[in-house]
């Protein structure tokens, strides 16, 4: 049997999980299992595997009073003003805003009107909770390719979150930061 993540190597690690009274199985090669932080001697859930939660936990920056790299607003400023500083604050404070949004909004994803000329210039990643939910759903439906894709998105989001704090040092990684520099000049374009 081939690994359900890489689809190349032989699966030697077999995970089993109960979801809605159904038994779900997942078959992985050793490398993919290790990459997901699975210790074969310790029982682990598939979701945890996909999130790499079996691996030693990274020290989180959540206790830090994060600042938005674009406008300089700190999360403590938002708490005082109850208003965000700029569009990029949504990405910068994604983790902090998530419980707030869950409490005040009906859904986590916009389904309404979109700008006709939307060019995707503003890059706000999906929230961690919504990604984890989609991941759970993908696991539940045994869609492991999709699950692996979402896992990568979650890792990317985590990198971005830390990247914001260390942005000064990592200025070379322009691609992963929201396209802010272009926006400053390119806002209010005359398109006619």
């Amino acid at each position: 049997m081939l690994c359900q993540v890489c689809g190349k190597k032989e699966a030697t690690v077999h995970l089993t999980q109960m979801l809605n009274d159904e038994v779900r199985k997942m078959h992985l090669c050793e490398q993919c299992a290790e990459a997901g932080g699975i210790d074969v001697n310790v029982p682990a859930s598939m979701t945890n595997f996909l999130l790499g939660l079996g691996a030693p936990k990274k020290t989180k920056a959540e206790s830090v009073n994060r600042a938005c790299p674009q406008c300089g607003m700190h999360f403590s400023d938002f708490k005082k003003l109850s208003r965000l500083g700029c569009q990029d604050c949504y990405a910068a404070f994604a983790e902090e805003l998530e419980p707030l949004l869950n409490g005040m909004q009906k859904g986590a994803r916009h389904v309404g009107k979109k700008p006709e000329h939307y060019a995707g210039a503003v890059n706000v990643p999906p929230s961690m909770a919504s990604l984890k939910k989609v991941l759970d759903e993908a696991v539940a439906s045994e869609n492991y390719e999709e699950a692996a894709r979402i896992r990568d998105q979650i890792h990317e989001a985590e990198t971005r979150a830390t990247g914001i704090l260390a942005s000064a040092k990592r200025s070379g990684e322009a691609g992963s930061a929201p396209a802010a520099a272009e926006n400053t000049n390119g806002s209010n374009k005359e398109r006619r």
Binding site: S82, R83, C86, L101, K106, R109, G112, E116, E190
Partner: protein, 357 residues
């Protein structure tokens, strides 16, 4: 901008009935509808975190775009810093801008269609807040109208938008669609039958907010209540608007039932209540704002129930607006203190009601 321009424009506004109270067009219980959208321009700081220079620059950039909107045809542009206190009050009383807007300085402006059916605030809580307003229950049409205005602006402006979170707003409570649909209701039947609190509770559970006549933080003076959606993310604008409409129609039914039961169960009490209201409004020499709204509400209900005659509802609605401090002082032609206002208010109401009779 010519500083006198604002004053002249506000003078013109006062001569016409407010858009939300257009003569004879509302149904009595459902007074008016409004749909507003919150939008921000991509790559710029939101107003609360922007400098005055940022705000002035944004207004400078948006001015030509908003000034030539097809949907507003030859709009009135009013810079907040060029308006005096009285003029700001008038705009607030006419629901053309928020109370928060009145505190803003340079870079903030209101763009109005001349019939007041469309109003766009620049640099309030968000860069752009646009609203469409009309009498009666008209939410679906208003959504279409403001959607068109939004699309027209969008053809010239790149909005702060993300596929996941939708339109990005200064407050996360508006993120997504940025829509706030609201309906103004006159509910004296439910108030007099002591049923209003249970209705408000039920409505709050359905995700709607209930506010007073002049919005957030105001009480329901004159038994006027504003109902609006609270959530903006995760549903389409149509779903949000339709849910509000459905609940409004249910409340409309409750109010009708309440009024019928009021007549059946408290007939003597209610006739006395109406009679006293007419007596006070046509004979008092000092009327404060609160008492005036209460008495006008009673008169309005009396007319709707056919117990009082001789006036039209539209006249009473006009008095709701004209007896507010800003409008009253404008009619008096000067800024006056509270006591003089009460005298002027009573005089105005007396004259109008006797002239119209």
């Amino acid at each position: 901008m010519n500083p006198n321009f604002g004053m002249k424009a506000v003078d013109e506004l006062v001569k016409q009935p407010g858009s939300w109270l257009k003569v004879g067009e509302n149904t009595g219980i459902i007074v008016s509808s409004r749909v507003r959208l919150a939008r921000n321009v991509c790559g710029r700081r939101f107003p609360a975190w922007a400098s005055e220079e940022d705000a002035v620059r944004l207004l400078h950039d948006l001015n030509p775009i908003l000034g030539r909107l097809q949907a507003c045809r030859d709009p009135i542009v009013l810079e907040i810093s060029s308006l005096n206190r009285m003029e700001k009050e008038i705009l607030i009383e006419r629901h053309l801008m928020s109370r928060d807007m009145a505190e803003k300085g340079k870079g903030s402006a209101v763009v109005l269609k001349r019939d007041e059916s469309i109003a766009i605030m620049v640099n309030e809580e968000d860069h752009i807040r646009m609203q469409a307003m009309s009498p009666g229950l008209n939410l679906r049409n208003l959504w279409k109208q403001i959607d068109a205005v939004d699309s027209e602006i969008e053809s010239n402006v790149e909005y702060a938008f993300s596929p996941q979170m939708g339109y990005l707003t200064a407050c996360p409570s508006n993120v997504g669609t940025g829509i706030r649909a609201s309906v103004m209701l006159h509910l004296p039947g439910l108030v007099l039958m002591n049923e209003i609190n249970s209705i408000i509770k039920a409505v709050s559970k359905m995700g709607l907010a209930v506010r007073g006549l002049w919005g957030e933080g105001t009480d329901a003076a004159g038994n006027m209540f504003q109902l609006s959606n609270q959530t903006t993310l995760g549903e389409t604008e149509e779903v949000i608007v339709e849910r509000l409409e459905k609940i409004v129609l249910e409340i409309d039914e409750h109010e009708k039932n309440g009024r019928n039961r009021l007549l059946e169960q408290k007939g003597n009490y209610i006739r006395d209540h109406f009679g006293r209201a007419v007596g006070i409004l046509t004979h008092a020499h000092m009327l404060n704002s609160k008492e005036t709204l209460e008495m006008l509400s009673a008169l309005r209900l009396g007319l709707d129930l056919g117990i009082i005659s001789g006036w039209k509802r539209a006249m009473i609605d006009e008095l709701f607006l004209l007896t507010q401090p800003g409008h009253l002082q404008k009619l008096e032609g000067r800024v006056i203190g509270a006591e003089k206002r009460d005298l002027a208010r009573a005089r105005l109401v007396r004259q109008r009601l006797l002239d119209w009779k």
